[in-house]
Amino acid sequence: MEGNKRVSNKQIRAMVVSTIVGVGILSLPNQLAMASGNDGWVSILVAGLLTIGVVVFIGKIFDIYPDKDFFQIGREVLGNGIFSIFLIILFAYFIALVAFLSRSLAELIRAFLLATTPTEVIIITFILCTSYIAREEINIIGRLAYHIYPLILISTAALIIVSIPGLDPTNILPLFQSNVKEVPGGIRTSFFSFVGYEILLFSFFYSEKKDGRLKSAIQGVLIVMLIYVTIFFTTLAQYGLHGLQRQAYPTLSLVKEIDLPGFFVENLDGVAMAIWVLIVFSTMAPSYYSAAKVFSNLLNVKDHSMFILPILPIAYIISLLPQNTVTLTETLGKFLDYSGLIVIVILPVLIYFVGIYKLRRNKK
């Protein structure tokens, strides 16, 4: 019974959804409204399609080398030296992601729940609690995703259904009015909201059935696109473009607007924050797991669980570097954008093409 570290295809789908949906869901509509106005949803769709493209590349890699995991493939295709450089960037990326997630969570918790608690305490407790599950293998991460996945779907659906009475559909209009030049900026913003699919690098190899795994992963991305687009439209219809541009966390504000007659709980933002902590946790756990996994592979050690605690201080210190939320997005966020571009977009595509090239050369 030991050694059964497989994940099912449905767990892969859940993993994609729960890892991608994270911190961004609260602020995404605002960022999109800033970047591309009423047509933010276009950039969601484009960014989602781009993500699917990369996901397909990742799937192809594992089809070419069916009996190797990501690290073995990378070593074989790119050679030890080059791949190690990529691994270092990948590790830096994941550590920065963990730091970014915990810092963003801490800032929001401070803003909405615990005004007087020091940021440090919130960050360290959150990372510590995540470390408990990050030391497990991918099958446990898959199970975790499957528990959070229905929560994401149900809470999103509930939020939208409950806020329908207050919506004004005319706020969505006019469509297709924005400048073409603004679309790339929106895509850049929303592409970062699709970060998280890189968990596929570590989970595809362990899938139970090879046939359906790519399909499940793509379904996952599609579900995320659907969630993002509906939330964008709902918040846009609620606040209008100018209102949306002034709301830092429109999704959370949307919760505050809910006022059902005769409803027991008036202020639902506490509940929303509670659920959101779980959603961030479901992004944090795979990232932390991946960071430790990459680190252990850099050192050629099989078991990643012994590195969970040693890398904790690194993430903690990095998360404390930015002064405030603005510098957080400007420094860590920028770093994540660029390093993410290298390791979760360029790296899989590069591995795919070099792999194909090597395969053809070997055939000749």
Partner: protein
């Protein structure tokens, strides 16, 4: 002692007397039979472990009547024990044995041993019969409708109750002796054609690896073979009800019945099975579905309510509707303690009451309950030490914990309730969420014999539609397949089409 029997009966008796020195309950009855040539015979047993009437009448009685009458030198020269076993004894179970250790074990388990002179064999006569508790209604798992018999302390009767329910040769009952000194009989029950083979191997492997002096109850066995012994949650189910065991066997699970314990073990156990009661299958499906949802709510209440109270009163009074906030503040205005002290105080009081109620039998226990629950609660509110809302919260928490069918699971949740109270006292609602994350991670990462502990919620059951028999309870017509989490080899349990389950 491990050696074989000697030919000389005196020497054998001496060995046995040596082993059983200072054991007042051993009885060695010497008989001589035969006319002319007397054959020495000894009947050895432990007083109290055997059915005395049975042995006197059918063993010693027949030997005597044979010895005084027709027993002649014909028997001598031939194999005398063979003759006695085939032509003299009227007992149902008789078996030859040469090994001294096995003979001693047989005596210790309540069999009677018959030795004769001039042979290196002995007869073991099945004569077990001791004083036992009769079959009674199980106290911990009462049902309104359903069978009323519960297990007793006698292994044989317990396995019989299962056999009566499963008249199929595929029901295998393998008995092993576990415990070097106690040699406790442990029966492993499974359905040969349903159970998953690797699962069975794993259970056997774990049973074999046990090296311990004694097993005093099935709980010791449970702690020895479960996956994570440090966890507060049971990973093996226990039950007093033979019908539950039989139903689980049909699902492809494995049962362990330990001698001297009225609690059978069923494995693997998951959160889903621990929240089921056998009554669910005896009441109408609508009722059972409702009760199962109630149980999930009870799980939430028993873990969360005190910590949410602390978090809301101490950190986020603004999260409640305005009227409720004022009410809360007004009811707490005289309370001299912070919410966490108040909650811990009341929870501890209630745990004291519960513990004393459990240890005190019958009427005294209920008196303790009334005095504690009513009088202390009322007095505490009157004195202004705690707020009335706190009393309600504590009472609801306790009642909710009694709703959960598995007491072990409920007490695991109780441990986590206190952990969550600590978290919420330190970090408010965020602390409660951290506690939930830790509790959830703990449950998610656990396995019970290779089955995810949180199944069918872990993605296993949602795929296979198993939620209809865990989250809900679909009508029996819709449960035509065995649950998938045990990986049964024979999947279908009901043939035919959906009309009434008949073809």
């Amino acid at each position: 002692m491990n050696g074989k029997l000697a030919k000389d009966i005196e020497q054998n008796i001496k060995t046995i007397e040596g082993l059983f020195m200072n054991c007042y309950d051993i009885v060695i009855r010497r008989i001589e039979m035969g006319e002319g040539y007397k054959v020495k015979i000894a009947v050895i047993y432990i007083d109290g472990l055997i059915d005395k009437n049975h042995v006197s009448e059918y063993t010693i009685g027949f030997l005597n009547s044979e010895g005084s009458g027709s027993f002649s030198p014909i028997g001598y020269g031939k194999d005398i024990l063979d003759y006695i076993s085939k032509e003299v004894l009227a007992n149902a179970e008789v078996q030859e044995e040469k090994n001294m250790q096995n003979i001693v074990d047989a005596i210790l388990s309540g069999d009677t041993v018959l030795m004769a002179d001039n042979t290196d064999k002995a007869l073991i006569i099945g004569s077990r019969g001791w004083v036992f508790r009769s079959i009674e209604e199980p106290e911990t798992e009462a049902v309104i409708r359903g069978p009323r018999e519960g297990f007793t302390e006698v292994l044989k009767f317990n396995t019989t109750m299962i056999r009566r329910r499963i008249k199929d040769t595929n029901l295998k009952i393998v008995v092993k002796a576990i415990g070097k000194r106690s040699k406790t009989g442990v029966a492993l029950l499974y359905m040969e054609d349903i159970v998953d083979k690797t699962f069975l191997q794993e259970v056997n492997k774990r049973l074999m690896s046990i090296d311990i002096d004694s097993i005093s109850d099935s709980s010791s066995l449970e702690f020895l073979i479960e996956d994570n012994y440090l966890s507060a949650f049971p990973q093996i189910e226990n039950t007093e009800r033979p019908d539950s065991v039989a139903a689980s066997l049909y699902e492809g699970r494995i049962a362990l019945i330990v001698d001297n314990s009225p609690f059978a073990l069923i494995l693997p156990a998951t959160v889903g099975t621990l929240l089921q009661s056998s009554e669910d299958y005896y009441s109408r499906w609508s009722d059972s579905t409702f009760v199962r949802l109630i149980r999930l709510i009870a799980v939430g209440l028993t873990v969360l309510s005190p910590s949410l109270y602390i978090a809301i009163t101490a950190y986020h009074p603004g999260l409640l509707p305005a009227k409720l906030t004022y009410f809360l503040a007004a009811s707490r205005i005289d309370v001299p303690f912070p919410a966490v002290v108040e909650a811990t105080l009341m929870e501890l009081t209630l745990e004291l009451l519960r513990e004393s109620g459990t240890r005190m039998a019958g009427p005294v226990g209920s008196t303790v309950g009334i005095v504690g629950g009513l009088i202390i609660g009322q007095a505490a509110v009157d004195a202004g030490i705690v707020s009335p809302l706190m009393i309600i919260i504590v009472a609801v928490t306790t009642i909710a914990s009694f709703v959960i069918p598995s007491t072990e699971f409920a007490s695991g949740l109780r441990v986590w309730r206190f952990i969550l109270m600590g978290f919420s006292a330190l970090l408010g609602l965020y602390g409660v969420m951290l506690g939930i994350i830790l509790l959830g991670s703990h449950l998610i990462k656990m396995d019970s014999f290779g089955v995810p502990y949180t199944s069918p919620y872990s993605g296993l059951g949602i795929d296979t539609g198993e939620l209809k028999d865990t989250l809900l309870k679909a009508p029996i017509q819709h449960l035509r397949e065995r649950p998938e989490f045990t990986r049964p080899r024979n999947k279908v349990r009901m043939g035919g089409y959906w009309k009434n389950g008949r073809k």
